[in-house]
């Protein structure tokens, strides 16, 4: 029986559940680093007084700037200093840094640092940053706040819209959100007294990339920096880009010759770590008489904050929106302008789903709004529009491999029993009180893309491939060294299942080594739902090579043909016989009796493989049932159903865990979490009293059903599944809220749908204050 496909327990869990994990904050033995951050959104630095290091100290040491990595004519290229130079551009921007013996003392020292800043007007929000005469975020480099602008249109778009049977206009808004990992960011650096080599432990997603950029900044060889991501308490994209703070921690440890650590606190994390998602989409959609979405025109603006993020750039949100907006639909004509606009607010990084929660919200609201105008219900309009011919090539040239867009929806709708829901809803409408609503969301999730996809973005640093080194030691155990950097997803477990099947051992005899640049091959880390596809693919290929080696060893030992050797249950046997040898015995031979190896064979059992696919699309349908209280605007999610097609499921339990966690973040995006700035650029949400992640009380059970379309675009047949939950849930919830209040004429296209926004929508639709309140 194969290990792949089984929900074996995660090898990661015993450590974490017993509380013996090792996070950056557990390392200890270091002086405490604290950053002095700008209290104003925009201003000129006149002076910094007190016991602190500033950009002048970095400059004096020859520390470089973070260079732009995107090469496009429509992209403003900037060099970013590690601490603010001359200007501050957002509340929370690091201006100076202090070192104290304890965290409390470092905070005392930071209070003694006086920042003399001449405040300037700030550009806040999309409209604020785009307004004529808006304060410029980078006045020396650009005469507008538009930092990246992509545009494309297929020929004939305007004519198609003109002749459309029905045209629907729609604006959706996504509020600014934070990824909010349970463990905030942090780093710890020690420099050896002799030799001067530095070890950085940091809570990050891409250790090799961080090593490269820090070494470039500090002018040191990569051989002299070891970067380790120990246990990481959640990341979700926020720990993918270089943290300026981490580079400074390395610099301080080298300069001071003492171990130093920066442990970000929650306020810093909310104020000055990366944000994401502040976007606005304006759509114009043309449907033909059969309700096919024929033409789609979009204007997208993403507020990208004050600085780009390295190496993902501040094109990540707007350019993904441009490329992926058609989603699971098949408009023949597509045109889009997508801009990234800078503002005096915290910079943006990718957050689980990146632009797709907003893309999906736009498309799925579009379908629900268009349906009644075309005399259809939400299921039928999607039935007529979802992709069903594969491979499908999108108007922007993306190849969708086979998926189950329609099937997933049909299954979800059957599972929830839409008919029964509608009768309950009918009764509730007559009775008053909380109003039930149901929302459907169908979407695609582009996952597991390698170098070709990134190369299309014209980046100076092109991420993509993954390498894996695999070796069997003399005891017959397999060590897998990967460039990906799992941080809680369960990748170690899933890879061990793949290896176990290929080399005929069990997962308990497989060890995965990751997240340490000294012990792993160069790779790109874990992000973009890529690790299972890429590291999994490379592991699979390497394991096959190892199996081949073992096969030829066994053939030699058993005097059989290599093709007849079967590896299973820890033994190599001659097919159809009981003649065999333990794999552990083969491992001994390979290392200790190399005189018995086949002629020309290399001693030992080490192989390596790389994998770099073009990418694959997962798909899913989410259905949310909510109750909406029209008097308070309060929304509670009663039921949530996911039908997911993520290709081959290596470990279904782990896949379900990914989906559940993602859906929770999606519900949070839909209803609760929002980073808010006032008009002067002061951030108002700097604690968990104001930024509101859901508690278990706000989340219903999440029911998950699977379809399994084996991908022909990946060697394992698996597709990525890390982001889907977050992508689909907001639209499902917003559609449900709208459905609940449809009889009042409410249309709400902004997330989060806070109680106040829902209540305001009820008020403006009904023109009256509360109805009966009992």
């Amino acid at each position: 029986m194969s290990w792949v496909g089984r929900s074996i327990r995660r090898v990661e869990d015993p450590t974490l559940l017993r509380g013996v994990g090792m996070f950056v904050g557990d390392i200890g033995g270091a002086a405490a680093v604290r950053f002095v951050r700008s209290p104003v959104a925009s201003g000129l630095i006149r002076a910094v007084r007190g016991p602190a290091y500033t950009i002048e100290d970095l400059d004096a040491d020859g520390v470089g700037n973070i260079e732009a990595v995107l090469h496009r004519p429509d992209y403003v290229r900037l060099a970013q200093p590690l601490l603010a130079r001359e200007r501050v551009r957002y509340v929370g921007e690091p201006v100076a840094v202090v070192v104290g013996d304890t965290a409390a003392e470092a905070e005392d020292l930071a209070e003694q640092v006086e920042l003399d800043i001449e405040p300037l007007p700030a550009a806040v929000g999309i409209d604020g940053a785009l307004a004529p005469g808006a304060p410029l975020v980078h006045p020396d480099e650009s005469d507008s706040n538009v930092m990246v602008a992509g545009e494309m249109a297929t020929p004939g778009l305007a004519e198609a819209l003109d002749r459309a049977h029905a045209v629907v206009d729609l604006e959706i808004v996504s509020g600014r959100q934070a990824a909010l990992p349970l463990e905030a960011r942090g780093s710890h650096a020690v420099t050896e007294r002799f030799g001067g080599r530095t070890t950085l432990h940091a809570s990050i997603q891409a250790p090799h990339m961080v090593r490269t950029v820090i070494c470039d900044l500090l002018g040191m060889p990569e051989a002299d920096l070891r970067v380790v991501a120990p246990d990481v308490g959640g990341a979700f994209g926020q720990k993918l880009p270089l943290a300026r703070e981490d580079a400074i921690v390395v610099w301080l440890s080298r300069r001071l010759g003492r171990p130093v650590a920066w442990i970000e606190d929650r306020s810093e994390n909310l104020m000055a770590s990366w944000h994401s998602r502040e976007q606005r989409y304006r759509l114009r959609a043309g449907f033909d008489a059969e309700a096919h979405l024929e033409s789609l025109q979009a204007d997208v603006v993403a507020n990208v904050g004050a600085w780009p993020c390295y190496p993902i750039t501040w094109g990540v949100e707007p350019l993904m929106a441009l490329a992926e907006l058609p989603g699971p639909y098949t408009p023949e004509h597509y045109g889009v302008r997508s801009r990234g606009v800078a503002s005096h607010t915290c910079p943006m990084s990718p957050y689980r789903g990146v632009s797709r929660p907003a893309i999906t919200l736009a498309l799925e609201r579009l379908m629900d709004i268009a349906a009644p105008r075309l005399g259809l219900d939400p299921v039928e309009i999607r039935r007529r529009n979802l992709q069903s011919d594969f491979p499908h090539t999108s108007p922007t040239g993306l190849r969708h491999d086979e998926g189950t867009y329609r099937e997933a929806m049909e299954l979800a709708v059957r599972h929830v029993d839409l008919g029964a829901f509608r009768s309950r809803q009918h009764v509730a409408r007559a009775a008053g009180g909380p109003q039930p609503g149901i929302g459907i969301c169908t979407f695609s999730e582009r996952t597991g893309y390698g170098t070709p996809a990134f190369a299309a973005r014209a980046m100076g640093v092109t991420p993509g491939y993954e390498n894996v080194e695999l070796s069997m030691d003399p005891s017959g155990y397999v060590t897998v060294r990967i460039g990906a950097s799992p941080h809680g997803q369960g990748l170690e477990t899933a890879l061990s299942q793949i290896v176990a099947d290929e080399v005929g051992t069990d997962p308990g005899r497989v060890r995965v080594v990751a997240s340490d640049t000294d012990r792993t091959p160069y790779g790109w880390g874990s992000f973009a739902s890529r690790a299972m596809v890429l590291a999994g693919g490379a592991t699979y290929l390497a394991a096959q090579q190892l199996a081949t080696k073992l096969g030829s060893l066994a053939a030699e030992a058993l005097e059989a043909a290599a093709d007849d050797i079967v590896l299973a249950d820890g033994r190599a046997t001659v097919a159809g016989t009981s003649v065999g040898v333990d794999i552990a015995e083969l491992a001994r031979i390979a290392h200790h009796h190399t005189q018995r190896l086949p002629a020309g064979a290399t001693p030992g059992l080490s192989v390596q493989a790389g994998y770099d696919p073009a990418g694959t699309f997962s798909n899913a349908c989410h259905v949310a049932e909510v109750d909406v209280d029209p008097d308070t605007g309060g929304v509670s999610v009663r039921r949530f159903v996911v039908v997911e097609d993520a290709g081959r499921l290596i470990n279904p339990m782990i896949v379900d865990g990914q989906i559940r966690g993602g859906v929770v973040q999606g519900i949070a995006n839909a209803l609760l979490e929002e980073i808010v700035y006032d008009e002067d650029g002061n951030i108002l949400t700097t604690s968990l009293m104001d930024y509101l992640p859901p508690t278990v009380a706000e989340i219903p059970d999440i029911e998950i059903l699977h379809l399994e379309t084996l991908s022909d675009a990946t060697v394992t047949g698996a597709k990525g599944v890390g982001e889907g939950g977050t992508i689909g849930a907001p639209a499902a919830v917003l559609n449900a809220v709208n459905d609940a209040l449809a009889h009042l004429g409410v249309e709400l296209n902004e997330m989060p749908a806070t109680p106040e926004r829902v209540r305001a929508a009820v008020r403006s639709a009904t023109g009256t204050p509360a109805g009966p309140t009992n």
Binding site: D631, T632, G634, T685, R759, P772, T773, N774
Partner: protein, 299 residues
Amino acid sequence: MKPARFAYVAPDSIEDVLDALDRFGDEAKVLSGGQSLVPMMNFRLARPEVIVDIGRVGGLDGMSVVNGSLTVGARVIHARLEAPTGAMPDGRTEPLGGVLGSLLPEVARFVGHLPIRARGTFGGSIAHADPAAEWCILARTLDAEMVALRRGGERVIAAADFFETVFTTALEPEELLAAVHLPILGDDWRAGFCEFSRRAGDFAVVAAMTAVRLDPATGAISEARIGVGGVAGVPVRLPAAEATLVGEVPGAEVHAAAAEVAAGEVDPAGDLHGSAAYRRDLVRAMVARALAQGAGAPG
């Protein structure tokens, strides 16, 4: 997120606590359950020089029934009010009955989360004086009396005089809040409580408590109290809305009319969690619902 330097004392008698408060005056802060004070110190919003921990003092965590009122010791944790008991004049401890006996658990479950209710104290909440705190709303609505001790003296402060503004009470720096007297409410009272918060366990955006007394002969309301939190610096009573109820027999229309007056009577400021207009809407909904709740069977 680390507090500024402070000194810490933990006396084991009330006298020593009062001495310490007398000596350090406004440099000192009493530490009770720490569920509000410690976060404020970590944010450095509170920077006391001296912390006077009252956790070792005996005699502050009793609940007793005397002369028609329940006396709640300052160090009674929130969780105990989920199933309130009282020491009776004859010394026995009994579950607290009556209207107050069923109102307290109804309210207690809205105070934070279980871990907070297991540490945070009734007196701490009253002394902290958050305008949306359930116990402050209850104290104001029921006209509770606060017992304040100082070295060599004691005074009783009426709820109407106690809450001055956000996080500010009539307590002097030298004073310790020792206990709160709550009226038991006779069987002719009906009480209700309703709040709206963003998530389970959050402070209310708006909360309302209502208590009406019914004339046994006519069934009409003879006395009415409406208290709301989340609309001003302190929990407020709404006399105009209360007045609309007096003389009326409880019912949906009467409640709606009072709720409408209540919504007009408050003058909230807007903030991140709700604009002024939204808070008025919530007052309308919460007052009507609290009244409806209280219109059910007697406590």
